[in-house]
């Protein structure tokens, strides 16, 4: 019996693969797939009273979502804030990754580790330190007032969408650097020389060769930042104020004080679908545009 099992195991590559996947697969099914399925189901139910949920299937919760402007406004704001977070992160981390990939000759790994050093402290601590930096009596405002550039503290710095964008962009920078660095470092340097040799300036070479070849990294970074930041609710809670509240804060409230699980679930499903479609569209467009450029 054991011998024949061993034989099957040795012969069948598929069985090997499934066995290796099994622990991760179970974890994903238990911790991801089933809660999501439950959320999806709940979104078709109705909250009757505090403790009671009517499980008759209905699409009324989705109707509720689109009929009350507050939900769609918050969804739009979530997507907008995440878009700017992604943009700011890319613009700030791409040059860093580029520098490490092309100009650092020795100890590249050390550079990468040093870049991620600030991220070894807790996420909450970092959000709080941004509060200290951006607050009414924070570092930025006091400094600007001390040198006499402004009379009163700048109001838009804290408890605003700007604050949320800045804080989130900083929080996710380390995750963007890695895929960008890997894709840039992989580029064969002779390709850049070939482009230069064929009459392109360094700037043209960047747009015609380097950037298109780094796209897998760019798309990776976009997805890594955009997808989780849409759902972030800690940062908007702490530095967003009323103006910076996002859909995730509303979902949290619906599952909490507002006590409307089905509507919260419907909002979560809608957010999931929006994020997925945005991610798909971004990937598609980036590919198209980059091919046209070169």
């Amino acid at each position: 019996m054991i011998i024949s099992l061993k034989k099957i195991y040795a012969k069948n590559e598929n069985i090997k693969a499934y066995l290796l996947l099994f622990p991760a697969l179970m974890l994903v099914i238990l911790a991801m797939a089933s809660p999501m399925l439950l959320t999806f189901l709940t979104s078709f139910h109705t909250q009757v009273s505090m403790m009671e949920i009517d499980t008759t299937l209905t699409i009324d919760r989705y109707k509720d979502f689109f009929n009350k402007p507050v939900y769609t406004t918050l969804l739009g704001r979530s997507l907008k804030i995440s878009f700017f977070v992604t943009l700011v992160t890319l613009i700030t981390t791409y040059p860093l990754a580029y520098y490490i990939a092309f100009y650092v000759k020795k100890n590249k790994m050390l550079w990468i580790v040093l870049m991620t050093l600030p991220f070894w402290t807790s996420y909450l601590l970092r959000v709080f330190s941004w509060k200290v930096i951006l607050g009414h009596k924070g570092v930025v405002n006091s400094a600007l007032m001390a040198v006499g550039m402004i009379e009163e503290p700048l109001g838009f710095l804290i408890y605003s969408q700007t604050a949320v964008v800045l804080t989130l962009a900083h929080a996710w920078a380390a995750f963007a650097i890695l895929p960008l660095y890997v894709s840039l470092d992989k580029i064969d340097k002779s390709l850049l020389e070939a482009s230069y040799d064929l009459g392109n300036s360094k700037f043209q070479t960047f747009w015609r060769v380097t950037f298109p070849l780094s796209l897998p990294g760019v798309i990776g970074a976009i997805l890594i930042i955009f997808i989780p930041t849409v759902g972030d609710y800690v940062t908007p809670q702490l530095v967003g104020g009323t103006d910076g509240r996002m859909l995730s804060n509303m979902i949290q409230a619906l599952f909490g004080r507002a006590n409307n699980f089905p509507l919260g679930a419907a909002s979560a499903v809608i957010m999931l679908l929006s994020v997925s479609s945005v991610a798909l569209i971004v990937t598609y467009i980036t590919r198209k545009v980059s091919l046209r450029m070169s």
Partner: protein, 362 residues
């Protein structure tokens, strides 16, 4: 300026930190010439080529192409194009767009552009490959596309950095012939870098042999083989025997030389030698004849030896003969079937004085 000085490399040196990669090099290359830079790895040949392309700037000296000083001009503005060692085909665009890549500046119409790409593909015999991507091409095809991409720009000089190195032997030999044919038909000056002496010899009009950053000899292939000017060149190109000798006396035309263990002989004069100087007599293995007895053929030198080894190469055989008092066995190549001449048997080797080249020790 004459066409003989189409490219002028004047006192060019290049230092990387403390390492001298190129050491005071002077070369004139004629228009339409197929010129090779030959040398072992690390001899500075690639650095010199990169200086010509503009990827490196010389620490000292000048480069002139078609009478224009290009020393400080960036690669994108030079009249040179390069075929890279690994071909550097852009992987994100197809063959057609690879070939068009360098033509954007010329503001050609779609039809003209298509025409140029077609002509280029035809030239390298890869018509119909427009839509392929780099990973769908073989090594040889990639190499042709790299050639087409560079030649479509109609450069004054084409620089080739060991472009045949990655191909297998058969294909490499085929490409050597093809490359030479192509160069003749387009009439563009080719500067070809290689460490493979056979490659340099079969294709080039002239070859510059480099070692340790210096040019040792610039000659047409035949001259390089028949009259090596120093020990390195003699040793690097083909097979050769060196015999330790001493200069006995020198006059206007002749040099009397005592070859160690072989006796005194009178040879043709070469420059800058003095009486008493120790010198080397160089003999190519194919000019030495091997016989069973010493009366079979007439020769200037005939010495008895013992066969210490033979190696068979199909069209010829290398025979190593030990001679008393000479440290290294003499190497002899022959196309004769060596009847009766096997390992450990006695034989005679016959050398004619006209086949001996005197080479000064450095």
């Amino acid at each position: 300026m004459s066409d003989k000085e189409f490219i002028k490399i004047k006192n060019v040196s290049k230092k990387f930190d403390d390492v001298v990669a190129v050491d005071d090099v002077n070369i004139d290359i004629a228009k339409g010439e197929f010129f090779s830079l030959l040398g072992p790895s690390g001899c500075g040949k690639t650095t010199l080529l990169r200086i010509l392309a503009g990827f490196e700037y010389p620490s000292f000296g000048k480069v002139l192409i078609d009478n224009i000083d290009v020393t400080d001009i960036t690669p994108n503005l030079r009249p040179t194009n390069m075929v890279f060692q690994n071909y550097a085909i852009f992987p994100h665009i197809n063959v057609k767009r690879n070939i068009e890549f360098g033509l954007r500046k010329e503001k050609l119409s779609r039809e003209e552009l298509n025409q140029r790409v077609n002509d280029a593909l035809k030239m390298v015999q890869l018509e119909g490959y427009e839509d392929r991507f780099s990973n769908q091409l073989s090594g040889g095809q990639r190499q042709r596309i790299a050639l087409a991409r560079a030649l479509v720009k109609q450069p004054k000089v084409l620089l080739l950095d060991e472009p045949l190195g990655a191909l297998d032997k058969k294909l490499r030999e085929e490409m050597q012939l093809e490359l030479r044919k192509l160069q003749r038909s387009v009439g563009i000056t080719f500067i070809f870098v290689t460490h493979d002496q056979e490659e340099a010899m079969t294709m080039s009009d002239r070859v510059a042999v480099m070692n340790k950053g210096q040019i040792l000899q610039i000659s047409p292939p035949k001259d390089l083989y028949n009259n090596p000017k120093n020990l390195f060149v003699g040793d690097f190109i083909g097979q050769i025997n060196f015999l330790e000798s001493e200069v006995k006396s020198v006059d206007q035309q002749n040099v009397k030389v005592s070859i160690k263990n072989l006796g005194d002989y009178t040879l043709t004069y070469i420059d800058n030698i003095n009486q008493g100087e120790s010198i080397v007599c160089a003999i190519r293995p194919e000019t030495i004849q091997i016989t069973k007895n010493n009366d079979q053929i007439k020769s200037d030198i005939s010495v008895k030896g013992k066969i210490s080894n033979t190696s068979f190469y199909g069209n010829m055989t290398y025979v190593y003969v030990e001679i008393e008092g000479i440290k290294k066995p003499l190497m002899i190549s022959t196309s004769d079937p060596l009847e009766g001449l096997t390992y450990n048997s006695d034989c005679f080797i016959n050398i004619n004085l006209k086949d001996i080249r005197l080479i000064k020790k450095n």
